[in-house]
Amino acid sequence: MRPFTYERVRTPSEAAAAAQRPGARFIAGGTNLLDLMKLQIEAPTHLVDVNHLGLDRIEETGEGGLRIGALVRNTDLAADARVRRDYAVLSRALLAGASGQLRNKATTAGNLLQRTRCPYFYDTAQPCNKRQPGSGCAAIGGITRQLAVIGSSDACIATHPSDMAVAMRALDAIVETIDGEGGERRIPIAEFHRLPGDTPHLDTTLRSGEFITAVTLPAPVGGRHFYRKVRDRASYAFALVSVAAIVQPDGSGRVALGGVAHRPWRVEAAEGELPRGARAAMVAILDGARPTHENAFKLRLAERTLAGVLDEARS
C-alpha cells in the first residue's frame, strides 16, 4: 500500500469536509478499497474512517418505506425483519453476494460504490481506461466471457459487480448524500450509476467529496420477489447474469439485471412485455446489446433465467 494518513470522523458533515482534502477517500467496510490499495489500483493519501457516524440504523420513513443508514452492514440489512418481509428481493440479492465474513463488514453505501471486477482493471500490467484514463481497454478483444453485453462503449466493457444494487434498482431506491458545504441531494438509483461512455473512470454521478448518508426505499409494492443469480460456482462468486424481479398476481412486474452492464440494467419501458413472457420481455430489455462471441451466451442465459423466475411466480 502507498502511504496515507488516517482520520476518524464523528459526523457526516465532518466526513464530507474531511474528504475535500486532496487524495482523501472514505473508508467504511474497506473490503473492496483495501484490496485495491494493496494492488495500488487505489492509492489515497488520506483515509477518512466513517465507521463511527451512527449511520447504522434502518428506520421507517413517513411514506411507509425504509431509510437504510449508509453504514448498515450487508448482513444486518439482509436479516432485517422488515426487509425480509416487504423487500425480499433485497434480502435475496444481498445473501447471494460475497461470503458471510464479507457481508458482516461490507456496508450499504460501500456496496453501491464497489469497483468493477473486470480482470483487466485488476491487472496493472494492462491498459484500462477505468484505472488509468486514456490508457486504452485491454478487455476489448481480450477475454470477455464475464464482461458487459449492453451499454458498453469503445472505451470500456466492464460490469458493475453488485447484487444489492440490482435489487435496489428494481425497488426504485434513492441515494441520499451530503456535501462538504452541508448541501443535501436525493439521487434516484437509476441516475446513480453511470454508463462508461468515454469517461469510464467515473462509476457514479457522485461529486467529489459527496458523502452517502442513507439509501431510502419507497413503500413496499407487494408482489412476489425473486433474485436469481447464475454463476460459475454455487456460492461466493460474481454473477454471470442475475435477475431481480418483482412479479404481481396479474403478471405485470419489474425486472433488473446484474452482470450484463456497467450499471444495474433496467428498462422500465420493456416491462409492459412481461405478461407476454420472458422472450418478449428480454428482447425489449436487451435491445441494442453488443455482446462478443465469448459472452453472447449471456443474452440467452438472461432470457432463460427470467423464464425460470416467471414460471416460479406462476406456481
Binding site: 474497506g30 473490503t31 474512517d49 465474513q101
Partner: protein, 207 residues
C-alpha cells in the same frame, strides 16, 4: 544490480527503507503528517487482554496479529479476502482480518484461534475437527474453526442465508445451510466433507 542478501536484509528493514524513501520523496507536496509511517496508537482487546500498539496505519488487522502480537494462528493465504484463512472474530462477528486496518479497530475485542482454545484445553469445535479429521495440511483450519464457531451463532441469531427457503422463518441447521455459510473458507486439500461433519457434530444434529 546485485540482489540484496535475503538474510542481511529482512522484510521489515526493507519495508522501513521503502517507507523512508517514499516520505522523503513526497515531503514537499504532502502535509507534514502524511508520510504513512507516522505510527497510530491503538488498543486492541485480543483474546481478553488489552494490547497497546503503535502501528503504521497501513497495517492490516491480520499483520498486527501475526507480526506485532505474534499470534500466528490466523493465516495469510491470499491476503485479498478470497480464501478465509485469516478469519477472526471482532466483537463476536467473523470477518477477514486481511481486509481491514488495525487502526480501524481501536477499542475492539478480537478473538483469534489462540483465544478459542489451546492444545491442553480445546474448544469443542477444535475437538470436533480433530475427531472428524477436518483437515489435511491444516493451513486453512484456524480460519475454518473461527468461521464455523461464529457461523453457528449467526444461525442462532436467525440470520438467513442464500439457501434459506423461507426468509421469514428461523433458518434450519441443515448440511446445505452449513455448506453455504462456510463458502467463504476455501480448503484446497478438499477436506470439506469432514469439516461439515465436525461442524454438524458441534451444532448437535446428524448430517
Amino acid at each position: 544490480m546485485t540482489p540484496p542478501d535475503p538474510i542481511a536484509l529482512s522484510r521489515r528493514t526493507l519495508v522501513a527503507g521503502a517507507a523512508a524513501m517514499t516520505s522523503a520523496g513526497g515531503a514537499a507536496a504532502a502535509p507534514a503528517a502524511a508520510t504513512g509511517t507516522t505510527p497510530s496508537a491503538l488498543t486492541l482487546r485480543v483474546n481478553g487482554e488489552d494490547r497497546h500498539l503503535d502501528l503504521d496505519p497501513r497495517t492490516t488487522l491480520l499483520d498486527a496479529l501475526r507480526e506485532q502480537l505474534h499470534l500466528t494462528g490466523s493465516k495469510k493465504g491470499c491476503d485479498h479476502g478470497q480464501c478465509g484463512a485469516c478469519t477472526v472474530m471482532v466483537n463476536g462477528t467473523r470477518i477477514y482480518s486481511c481486509l481491514t486496518l488495525a487502526v480501524m479497530h481501536d477499542g475492539d475485542a478480537v478473538t483469534t484461534i489462540e483465544g478459542l482454545g489451546s492444545p491442553e484445553a480445546m474448544h469443542p469445535m477444535q475437538e470436533a475437527f480433530v475427531r472428524h479429521d477436518g483437515y489435511q495440511c491444516g493451513y486453512c483450519t484456524p480460519g475454518q474453526i473461527c468461521a464455523s464457531v461464529a457461523m453457528l451463532e449467526e444461525i442462532k441469531a436467525g440470520i438467513p442465508s442464500h439457501v434459506t427457503e423461507d426468509l421469514n422463518a428461523a433458518p434450519a441447521l441443515t448440511a446445505d445451510e452449513i455448506r453455504e455459510r462456510m463458502s467463504g473458507n476455501i480448503c484446497r486439500c478438499g477436506a470439506y466433507s469432514n469439516i461439515l461433519d465436525a461442524i454438524t457434530d458441534v451444532a448437535g444434529r446428524p448430517a
